[in-house]
Structure formats: C-alpha cells, structure tokens
C-alpha cells in the first residue's frame, strides 16, 4: 500500500458544486472505494443551509496512515460547476488537477501559473449518451478522478452497485458512467503526480459520527429513538427510521423536541433503553424534561450535536459553543454526565457506554458532539462488539420486601431499586414533585433534604465510573515541549497537527478531555510548561471548566468561531506562534 500526495502523504480530493448535485453522496462513495482499497480516509462536507444551488464541497483525504481531518488543500478538484473552480483553485496544491465538464469551457491555461492542470471531461455528454439523469455527471467524474489518482474502477463500481442494490438498470447505468469517465481520463495519460497503490488489508468501515452513535446505541440495546429533525442530529433519526425493522426499534419523528425528550423519558420509565438527539435550539427546549428525568430518576440519553449559535445561527456548520449549557442547563440541582467523543470510535463506544451510565445511575447522560464530528466520515477498524457490555444497574423484577417496594429507597449509594410497570406485585411510581421513598409527593423539610442527599450521594459513584473510562486521553510525545488541549471534533485536526509539529521538530502532545461532567481529576499533571487550548468557540468554554476544576488558566488559546472546523495547519501555526 502506498500513498503519495502532492503535498504530503495524503491524497486530497475536493468535490465542489451546487447543492442538489449529489456531492455528499459522491464523496462518500469515493471514500468507501478508497477504504476498500486499503486506505485510511477522512471526508467532510461543507454546505450552507439551502437545498439547491449555492456552493457545497466535500473534501476527502486518503492515506496509508490514519487521517483525522480535512485540510484546506486539494490535489484533485472535481468541479461540478464553474463556480467551484474559481472558489477552490486558490487552495490547490501545485501539480494538482481539475476535473471539470468540458462544456464549462474554462479559460485555457487557468491555474497554469500555479502548476494546476485542467482535465476537461465530457461529463454532460457522456450522461446524455447513456440516457441518465443530470445528477449522474458526478458518477462520470468519479470514474475520471479514479483514473487520475490510480484507483481501481472496479471497486468503485461495486460500491455504487451496492448502494443501488436491487435497481439493476440504475446500477448498470452508473457502472457505465464510471467506466466512461475512467476510460476517458486513463486514455489521456496525464502523468498525474499523485500515486495510490492499493493495499492488501481493506480497512474495516467508513462511517460518520452519527452512524457510529446509531450503531453504538443499537449495540447497547437502545430500542426507542424519538427526535425532531435538526441539523446535525437528523441523520440519527433517519438512521433509526430506516432501520426500525432491522433493528427491532421504534423510531418516532415527534411534533417537537419537547415531545422527543418526553417520549424518550416515557419509554425509559417503561423499561426501554431510549434516546433522543438534537442540536442546541432543540436542547434548549428539552431542558425542562432533562430536569424531570433527574427528579424522577429516569435514565435518559441525549445526543446534543453542536452547531454555531446563538439561536438558529449557522444551521449547517459546526461549533463547540454549548459545553457549559450541557453541563449547567436545566433548573434545579442534579447529577448528570456529559461526555464528548472525538472520533467515530469514541462515538460508538461512548454512545454504547452512555446507556450503561444512564441506567446504572438513573440520570441523564448527554453525548456532546459537533457537526464536524457527527457528519464527517472516517475509516476505522470494525467495532469490537465484545467491548460493549450491557449493565442496566439496579433492576428488580419482583419484590420480596421487606415492606412495600420503594422506588426511591434511601440506599447508601444513592441509587434506588428500579422496576418497570407491568411487573407482578410491583407498582412503579415516578414523580416530578419532591417525594418520599415510596414516590408520593412531599414537602416535609426532613424528607426533602433526605431525598436531595440521596440523589447527591450518587456523585462519588458516578465519578468513580467516569474515572474508569479514560476521561482524559493523551496522544503524542511523552516529553513534549508543548501541550495542546482540546475536545470533541477538535481532536482530529489536533492529531494531524501533532504530526506536522513532529515534522517541524517540535515535540508535542494532545490532551483530550472526554468527560466534561463530572470533570475528571488529574488533568493538572498535563498542564505543565507551554499549553495551548483549542476550541471551536469564542469563549473557550473548556478553558472555563478547567479553570474551575484545576485553577489552571490558559495563557494561550486558539479559537475558531466562524462555523468551520480547524485546519491542522492553523493549529500547528498557532502553536509555533506561541512557542515564538
């Protein structure tokens, strides 16, 4: 397996065009084909909040070593319209090539000064000849790009065929489209500078953070997903809706986020592992229910996919601006867990674990993600299902006594025996009012304080559980000159930056905070020497939590708050700047 890009050891393909041209689909197919050929890939989509027109682009990077993020550079540009050429030419690597529709008749020699070559392909004409729909232009372009970068057309064809499974005519047409594009470029012998040589062992899987969370939930036995559509969480709903038969699950598009949260709580009360997902605006609407889950001690898992706010903000972009809201949102005081995965693996394993935590402690667990993480594709090894175990905590199925069943029994660890309605001989109360051990409402001073204390006694056990889950993860050099700190979707570019810094001769490490609440102990020991905090927000919210929990105040930060994820180079540059 070999991979040589024009700039480094990755090959980067950008597919640009209008919304509605099937750009995201194309990028995902190409990535899957590359994975099948043994490459590590990362793919992400940049799109504004509109359905047709505008400018979208997908960036795909492939390499023989793991890739964790996008970069601003492209070796190959697949330009599905003229505009894309203008927008992306400036960030192409020298030696790069633009595959575009012959019909666009680009100005001769465009980009030549920067060593960029134009590779016109009769995209429209081929589609016309094949009698396919306009959108098939991108399939032709994919074939052309494969030829350019040395990717085997057969794999691509097979991936496409699987996607259209059962629709033979469409499959045939697409295969032809790929072949035509491939042949057209292969015949030209452009002598393109990128080189990809397939490896033996195909990668395990190619999926988004949302996909991984959905699978993690399935693995954990989640059987109920209720949500109201909201970018970037909608794909979770689509996944559950389209896999309800296969997964044996109930998926509901609710009338609002309030209903979504309340349904998840209702299902959980009735004994089902359930989940809801949303973004910041929807999470705002869920906070009252979150508080109910806490008071009634009903387990609840919420996926909060961040995007830039406040308010509607930038609906289709990325941010990390809801951290403190996730930690402190909702009225009253209660225990919760906020966990922020940083790649697709963590999305899977932590989503699965979220259900155990929610049930063991009978509390809400918030899976805090961001658009970059949940909507971007990554290759990774097949998930290891043996690493997923199911622990439902203190469940009782029948009641021997002593006395009547006490749903809110004042147990030493703060966690009371949980039963489900329908169990013979047990009646299960749940109450939003403060209550006695038997669930009946109370306002007695002593009973109230006792119940508050009971719930708070969970804290130490939750903390212990979290500490056992590697809440802080460290990557890179053991004796670093500089420590990078970050979380969530910033992990990918930070890891890429570590490699760049290594090449620059700078020993660096990246400290990822995975659990935000309860805040893990021991971070202090990494906050030595020069430290730089990177977050996709304006006010360095992880910095706030770190200051609060360790007393450490960052002198150096790198913040991005225009809705775009960091580029690894920006992180590297900022680190070098700090190092002086």
């Amino acid at each position: 397996m070999k991979c040589k890009g024009l700039r480094d050891d990755t090959v980067s393909v950008v597919i640009g065009g209008e919304a509605g041209q099937g750009i995201s689909r194309s990028g995902e197919l190409l990535g899957k084909a590359l994975m099948r050929c043994g490459f590590h890939c990362y793919g992400t989509m940049d799109y504004p909040s509109l359905i047709r027109g505008g400018h979208n682009f997908y960036q795909l990077r492939a390499s023989s070593r793991p890739v964790y993020s996008q970069t601003p550079y492209a070796d190959v540009l697949i330009a599905l319209n003229r505009e894309s050429v203008g927008l992306h030419l400036g960030s192409m690597n020298a030696g790069g090539g633009v595959i575009h529709d012959e019909r666009d008749a680009l100005e001769e020699g465009l980009g030549r000064d920067r060593g960029i070559n134009l590779y016109p392909v009769p995209l429209t004409d081929i589609v016309k000849e094949l009698g396919g729909p306009d959108i098939m232009r991108n399939t032709v372009a994919l074939g052309a790009a494969s030829a350019l970068i040395g990717l085997d057309a057969g794999t691509l064809k097979q991936v496409v065929a699987e996607t259209f499974e059962g629709r033979e005519k469409i499959i045939k047409m697409n295969e032809d489209a790929i072949q035509r594009g491939y042949t057209y470029v292969a015949g030209q012998d452009y002598g393109f500078g990128c080189c990809l040589e397939s490896g033996e062992r195909p990668r395990g899987q190619w999926l988004t953070g949302n996909d991984a969370i959905a699978l993690g939930a399935m693995a954990a036995g989640c059987k109920f997903y209720s949500a109201y559509p909201m970018t970037p969480a909608s794909p979770l709903l689509h996944y559950f809706a389209s896999h309800d038969k296969a997964g044996g699950t109930v998926a509901i598009q609710t009338e609002s986020e309030i209903a979504a949260a309340m349904m998840a709580i209702g299902a959980s009360y009735a004994g089902i592992r359930s989940m809801t997902g949303t973004s910041g605006g929807g999470f705002s609407l869920m906070t009252e229910s979150l508080s109910l889950a806490a008071m009634s001690e009903t387990p609840l898992v919420v996926m909060l996919g961040q995007r830039p706010g406040p308010s509607t903000g930038l609906a289709t972009y990325s941010a990390q601006g809801d951290l403190l809201f996730a930690v402190y949102g909702a009225h009253g005081e209660f225990q919760r867990i906020v966990v922020a995965p940083g790649d697709v693996d963590e999305c899977f394993y932590l989503a699965a674990e979220a259900f155990n935590l929610a049930e063991r402690f009978q509390i809400p667990v918030i899976l805090l993600t961001d658009k970059t993480l949940v909507e971007s594709n990554q290759t990774t090894d097949a998930f290891d299902l043996s690493r997923v175990s199911i622990d439902r905590g203190k469940l009782v199925e029948s009641w021997e006594g002593p006395g009547e069943y006490l749903r809110y029994r004042d147990d030493e660890d703060g966690v009371s025996p949980r039963a489900f309605p329908g169990a013979e001989g047990i009646l299960v109360p749940a109450n939003s009012n403060e209550h006695l051990e038997n669930g009946l409402s109370t306002s007695s001073s002593e009973a109230v304080a006792k119940m508050v204390d009971k719930r708070f006694r969970k804290a130490q056990h939750i903390r212990a559980a979290v500490e056992g889950l590697q809440p802080i993860r460290v990557y890179g050099d053991k004796r670093p000159r500089v420590t990078l700190v970050g979380w969530g979707g910033t992990k990918g570019p930070a890891l890429e930056a570590l490699g760049m810094l290594r090449d620059d001769g700078v020993k660096a490490r990246f400290v990822q905070v995975v659990f935000m609440e309860p805040f893990p102990g021991g971070l202090e020991k990494y906050l030595k020497g020069t430290c730089v905090l990177f977050e996709d927000n304006r006010s360095a919210q992880l910095g706030t939590l770190i200051r609060l929990n360790t007393g450490y105040a960052f002198k150096h930060v790198g913040l991005r708050y225009d809705g775009r994820p960091f580029n690894p180079g920006e992180i590297r540059d900022r680190v070098l700047e700090v190092l002086g």
Partner: protein, 285 residues
C-alpha cells in the same frame, strides 16, 4: 380475588378542597378499573401538573407524575414501550389545552391507544385561579379582571378535528354516567378523550355543580348517533342552556402501535437487548 376501592388507595392524605370535583373523578376511575377487572400492575396513570395532577398520588397503580402539559408524549411512549399496559392520562384544562396543546392533535391523529381524561374545571386551580383556555368568555379570574375576552377552547371540537377516535364528555356530578363513559374510554382501542366537567369549588364560582346540573343533557337519551361525525361536531358546539354530555363520537382506526414492525412480536420491553448487529454493521464496510 377481586379488587376493592381500598386496594386502589395509596394512603396519601388527600389535599383537594372539600367538595372538589376531582374526588368524584378519582372515585369513578377506581370504580371503572374495578368493574373492568383490571390488574393495577398492568395499568399506568400519567398525570400533569395542577390539582388534577395529584391523582397519581391517590391512585394505586403504576404512576408517572410528569411535568405541566406533557402527559401525552410520556403516555404515548409508555404505550409503545409496553403495549400490554393500559395507559391512562390525567390532564387539567390548562395542562391539556394551553401548555400541552402542541401535543394534542398529534396524539389524536396518531390514535395513541390510551384514555385521556381532562379534569376540565375551566380554571387554573393549583396556581390559585387564573383563566384557563377553556374558561368561558367573561369569566373573571386573577388574570382577567374584566372577564376573559377570548372564546374558550372547545375540547370536543378540538378532539374531533384532531382525529380522536373516541370523544366524550361527562360531569363530575354524575358518578354513574362518568363511570360508564370512563369504562368505554379505557376499553376503546385508540385515542379516547374524556372531557370531564369538574367543578372547582374554590376558584370557579360560575361553572358550579348547580350550573351544570341545570344544563347537562345525556346524548344517549337523545338518540345521538356516535358514528356521525357531523352530528358529533354540531352537538359538541352546544354550550348554553343545554350542555350535552355522553359519547359524541366513536371510530375504529388502526392505533399508533399498529404501525411499528418492532411491536408485532409483542411488547418492546419484553424483547432482548442484544441482537445480531452484523447486518447493520455491514452497511459501512
């Protein structure tokens, strides 16, 4: 061994005002459960916040006292999670038709298989007497010192328009009528709305027992056709010297749970958590 009223009593001190219509509702609900021979452990009562919401403190079945206005989504999910259970929702008029209004037509069109009992006292009880969405025009309350200006929400026409498959009204002063209506609502397969005219003796001095006694007329004594939507809608609009009570409309339609393949094999809660994921994982390979 058959159930007694006492078996359904939690022993909690009842804090409703003496004379409150809620007592009769609670009693008839218990009677209905007994007469239907239901096992309390197979019944779930979900209540909102308000005087009505205390029902779950007094009714010894499985209970979830949720937050204001959210009985329906919670109850919907409980039913889907375990459709073997009998699900009862208890809501106030404010709970159901102000803060909870956004859920109502959706539960109705989904035909969620449950009984939704609205303690309709035309006032906010627990918060000490503000106007409710069902307050009639002119009602003087703490928030409408010159009388409520807007026409009230009509729970029955809302139910009919929303698509509820069982629409009824009864009166807390008519225990037998109420029991019969509740029994039908509970056994109805689909979304059954029961609007209970419930005198609030403390804050609503207009819509009293006397007020209703003089006005209620039983539909069943007037040859009403429960299958006739138009007639139901017409009679549901009446509110004056005559206030019809009884079952306005009944329809059979698939219930919400019928639409989920995962439920075909029995209640979701009974199915094992682990499953073979290879098919799902293969999609990403």
């Amino acid at each position: 061994m058959s159930l007694t009223m006492k078996d359904l009593d939690t022993g909690a001190t009842n804090t409703w005002c003496p004379g409150c219509g809620n007592f009769a509702i609670l009693m008839t609900v218990k009677q209905a459960l007994i007469q239907l021979g239901l096992n309390p452990s197979q019944v779930v009562a979900v209540s909102g916040i308000g005087c009505h919401g205390k029902t779950t403190d007094y009714l010894k079945v499985n209970t979830f006292h949720v937050i204001h206005g959210r009985v329906l989504p919670a109850a919907t999910a409980i039913k889907l999670a375990n459709h073997g259970l009998t699900v009862l929702g208890f809501a106030g008029d404010g709970d159901a038709f102000n803060i909870g209004m956004g859920h109502f037509p959706h539960a109705a069109r989904r035909n969620v298989n449950m009984a939704y009992i609205v303690h309709d006292n035309l006032i906010y009880g627990l918060t000490t007497g503000q106007a409710s969405p069902t307050s009639r025009q002119g009602l003087v309350t703490k928030t409408t010192p010159r009388g409520s200006a807007e026409p009230g929400v009509n729970p029955l026409t809302q139910s009919l328009t929303g698509g509820a498959t069982f629409v009824a009204r009864t009166f807390a002063g008519e225990a037998k009528h109420m029991t019969e209506v509740l029994k039908r609502a509970i056994t109805h397969r689909g979304f059954a709305v029961v609007d209970v005219l419930q005198p609030c003796v403390t804050f609503n001095r207009v819509n009293t027992y006397e007020f209703y006694k003089q006005r209620v007329r039983k539909l069943e004594e007037e040859g009403h056709d429960e299958g006739d939507f138009e007639a139901a809608y017409r009679r549901a609009q009446e509110w004056g010297d005559v206030i019809p009570i009884g079952v306005f409309y009944v329809e059979e339609r698939p219930t919400y749970e019928d639409g989920f393949p995962a439920l075909a094999g029995g209640p979701l809660v009974g199915q094992p958590l682990s499953r073979d994921l290879s098919g799902l994982m293969a999609e990403f390979k």
